[in-house]
């Protein structure tokens, strides 16, 4: 795997391989010495054009556990407003010897630009680009769900997909890179995904996605999904008339206690974070035993270790994006 840019172009085989390596990496977190020498001497640059402390420290922890040198480059606002182009920034990092660039950028396609142009040679890992893709988030979601399904069936998760699983993703789909990456990855791994959102927060063209679309959350939950993923909804969206008020959104599309209660016993609740308690998710749901929010965070480090390991060591495998 040369780069990781999105999940649309990630094959089932490559995805399962990443998840399997992540399982192995996860074991390291349980040790007293949480470190492997795999990437000693390699340099990973976290190039963040957008604030995201959670994602950045997750990548940082992942790189450090693999003994890589980590450079954090917070370039928020510098690309356009301060005049330096993405190209120049990237080439500067290249000149400093970056082996992998983990990029977070407010513009959709920024990671793809870095990977597809001749600007740099380094491996590119997309840590979230605009409203396009967030592949490591989707992979950690898949890892979390796969473990759950395997535990339920009493088998090892290794080598498996998400075949037959039913996943409901609820919220601001149109602005969500997480939803886009989840839909394709989970579909490819064999899950059946249903998107639930107010019609204003679904993109025109969603009908071509490999998933079902449902406008009524209660109907989607009544089908007894294995996992419910609540997407973050920004209260500011109501200023642009995406929905009338936080209260109405919460009533119709929020995961509150009564809705939590109709879920089958084995259903889990996920959220990519940060949560808006009281908006898309109630405290009851966020803190319930069904919640896997912290497991997602822990799995995030494992998945990012796997991705960094694979892009920096397995140079000649097929490009997974």
């Amino acid at each position: 795997m040369r780069h990781l840019l999105d999940t649309v172009n990630l094959s089932r085989e490559d995805a399962i391989r990443i998840l399997d390596v992540a399982e192995t990496m996860g074991d390291v977190a349980g040790r007293e010495v949480k470190k492997l020498p795999a990437l000693r001497g390699r340099t990973v640059v976290n190039l963040f054009f957008e604030d995201s402390t959670r994602t950045r420290i997750s990548f940082e922890a992942a790189a450090k556990r693999l003994s890589a040198d980590v450079i954090n480059f917070s370039a928020k606002g510098s690309s356009v407003s301060k005049g330096e182009s993405l190209k120049d920034t990237a080439q500067t990092l290249q000149a400093m010897g970056a082996d992998a660039v983990v990029i977070r950028h407010p513009a959709s396609g920024a990671a793809q630009r870095l990977a597809r142009t001749d600007w740099i040679d380094a491996a590119v890992v997309n840590a979230g680009d605009g409203t396009h893709a967030h592949p490591t988030q989707a992979l950690l979601d898949a890892l979390t769900l796969r473990r759950e399904l395997a535990a339920r069936d009493g088998v090892s998760p290794t080598g498996r997909g998400l075949d037959g699983a039913r996943v409901v993703i609820v919220g601001d789909v149109v602005h969500s890179r997480v939803a886009r990456s989840d839909v394709w990855l989970m579909h490819r791994l064999g899950a059946r995904v249903t998107l639930v959102a107010p019609p204003t927060l679904l993109p025109v063209g969603v009908e071509s996605w490999p998933c079902d679309v449902e406008l009524d959350l209660d109907r989607a939950l009544a089908a007894g999904p294995d996992a419910v993923m609540m997407l973050r909804v920004q209260a500011e969206r109501m200023q642009s008339s995406f929905f009338p008020s936080v209260a109405e959104y919460s009533r119709r599309w929020g995961l509150d206690a009564p809705r939590l209660a109709v879920l089958p016993p084995q259903s889990i609740v996920m959220h990519p974070g940060p949560m808006n308690r009281g908006l898309e998710i109630s405290a009851a749901a966020a803190d319930s035993p069904r919640s896997r929010v912290l497991a997602q965070v822990a799995n995030g480090v494992s998945v990012r270790m796997a991705v960094l390991y694979l892009v920096l060591s397995g140079a000649n495998t097929p490009e997974g994006a």
Partner: protein
């Protein structure tokens, strides 16, 4: 005035080979192939197999001067125009300063005269500073030496319905026309590409077809109501075509334009986020492309406008959202039209003459451009080799812009010779010399 030129065996508008004698900037005589003899000191152009067209007229060019000479100048833009087979271009008003006064349009007009490659007809801004708030001095621009007849805020839509109505009415006083950039601004805030299947997947803010269609629908109704003529720039959707067809059937005095790129390229090209494909209006779907081609064939769309929009490299070497919108087009327009419309059998060469020369000249009220090819007419002529094939290489173009979306594409049709006032501005496919008398 240059000596005579004898063009031998040219296929006028794709017809049988004929000879054509040019003297003193005009067509002196036309006769069957091989029948005319060259006068003394005449240049002879062997045009066997070449199609002779009236010099092309672009209703929609961005020459960038004054203000963005790093992107293009009148000199480089008109060189590109000549190389593309043009003998006249309309220079859009979104320069810096905006062409919203007699002074600026006269400056552009004068620069065009000095360059001598083609007629440069400045387009005047409809509103002061393209701000969409109040009318610019349209009459002063019309009466200036530039003789402006086409007014446009191109790049920005005259979205205020009252302002649009007034503009349509006002320009009747001097036989002007409003060329509308149809884009409802609220529906396209932050828009990056056509709204549809591809934008949904790429996570780029969508540019709905209805944003164009709703403005066209409003404007044709306004034009009918006040009895004015309207020109619609760069139509890009199948829905717009339907509205225009309806309006024309109702007798509305409306003309419509399509760009070469909208006749060939689709929004699928955005998938790699290469901003060379970022343009306003955006590339649409294959169904839209087909509808646009059919609309040219049935006359619903009247003219080809290049919307030639050169940008410096750095404006395109960046993330999609940060990139400038626009593509170069002067040097690829005729090949794309041949490829998309002529070679597909949708139109004939005489139609090419109509949509790329005669009708654009009529819309812009250019009396000596786009004329029929017959004795006594001004010798603005283009000879194209329809059998030649060329792989587009933007580095070889005369424009300063390297932002051609056709890079690497093999296209048919090569402009071999261009005559502007009878003077050869292009010889054997390469730029020759400008017409000197223009600036005298």
């Amino acid at each position: 005035m240059s000596a005579s030129t004898l063009i031998r065996n040219a296929r006028i508008l794709g017809g049988d080979p004929q000879d054509l004698l040019i003297t003193k900037g005009r067509i002196q005589e036309i006769g069957p192939g091989g029948t005319l003899s060259a006068p003394e000191r005449a240049t002879v152009v062997e045009a066997q197999g070449l199609v002779l067209l009236p010099g092309l007229v672009d209703p929609h060019t961005h020459l960038r001067e004054p203000g963005r000479e790093d992107a293009e100048t009148v000199e480089t833009g008109t060189r590109a125009a000549a190389k593309g087979g043009y003998t006249a271009v309309h220079a859009m008003a979104n320069s810096l300063p905006v062409a919203d006064t007699a002074g600026v349009v006269e400056q552009v007009w004068r620069l065009g005269r000095e360059s001598g490659w083609v007629d440069v007809r400045p387009v005047g801004a409809v509103t002061v500073g393209l701000a969409g708030e109040r009318l610019a001095e349209l009459g002063a621009m019309a009466e200036s030496r530039a003789g402006v007849r086409v007014f446009s805020d191109d790049g920005i839509c005259v979205s205020d319905p009252v302002l649009m109505r007034r503009a349509l009415e006002y320009v009747k006083a001097f036989d002007g026309v409003i060329a509308q950039h149809a884009q409802e601004p609220r529906l396209t805030e932050g828009a990056q590409m056509n709204e549809g299947v591809v934008s949904a997947e790429l996570g780029l803010a969508g540019w709905p077809a209805v944003a164009e269609e709703s403005i066209i629908a409003r404007d044709v109704l306004l034009a009918q109501h006040v009895g004015s003529r309207l020109h619609v720039c760069h139509v890009s959707t199948a829905g717009s075509v339907e509205i225009l067809r309806w309006a024309k059937a109702r007798g509305v005095d409306v003309t419509a334009e399509v760009t070469p790129h909208h006749l060939l390229l689709t929004d699928e090209l955005a998938r790699d986020y290469d901003p060379v494909f970022k343009v306003n209006p955006p590339l649409r779907t294959a169904a839209d492309v087909q509808a646009l081609r059919e609309a040219v064939a049935d006359g619903t769309i009247d003219v080809i406008g290049t919307d030639h929009a050169p940008h410096p490299t750095e404006a395109k070497e960046c993330e999609w959202a940060a990139a400038a919108m626009g593509m170069t087009g002067l040097e690829t327009a005729l090949p794309v039209v041949q490829h998309a419309l002529v070679d597909t059998g949708l139109i004939q060469w005489e139609d090419v003459a109509r949509i790329m020369s005669a009708t654009p000249a009529l819309i812009g009220r250019l009396p000596d451009q786009g004329r029929p090819i017959r004795a006594g007419e001004p010798a603005h002529l283009t000879l194209v080799d329809p059998a030649a094939k060329t792989v587009v290489n933007p580095e070889s173009h005369a424009t300063k812009g390297r932002n051609s979306p056709f890079r690497g594409l093999e296209l048919p049709g090569r402009v071999m010779h261009v005559f502007y006032h009878g003077h050869p501005t292009v010889v054997d496919g390469e730029l020759a010399t400008p017409y000197e008398e223009a600036s005298a």
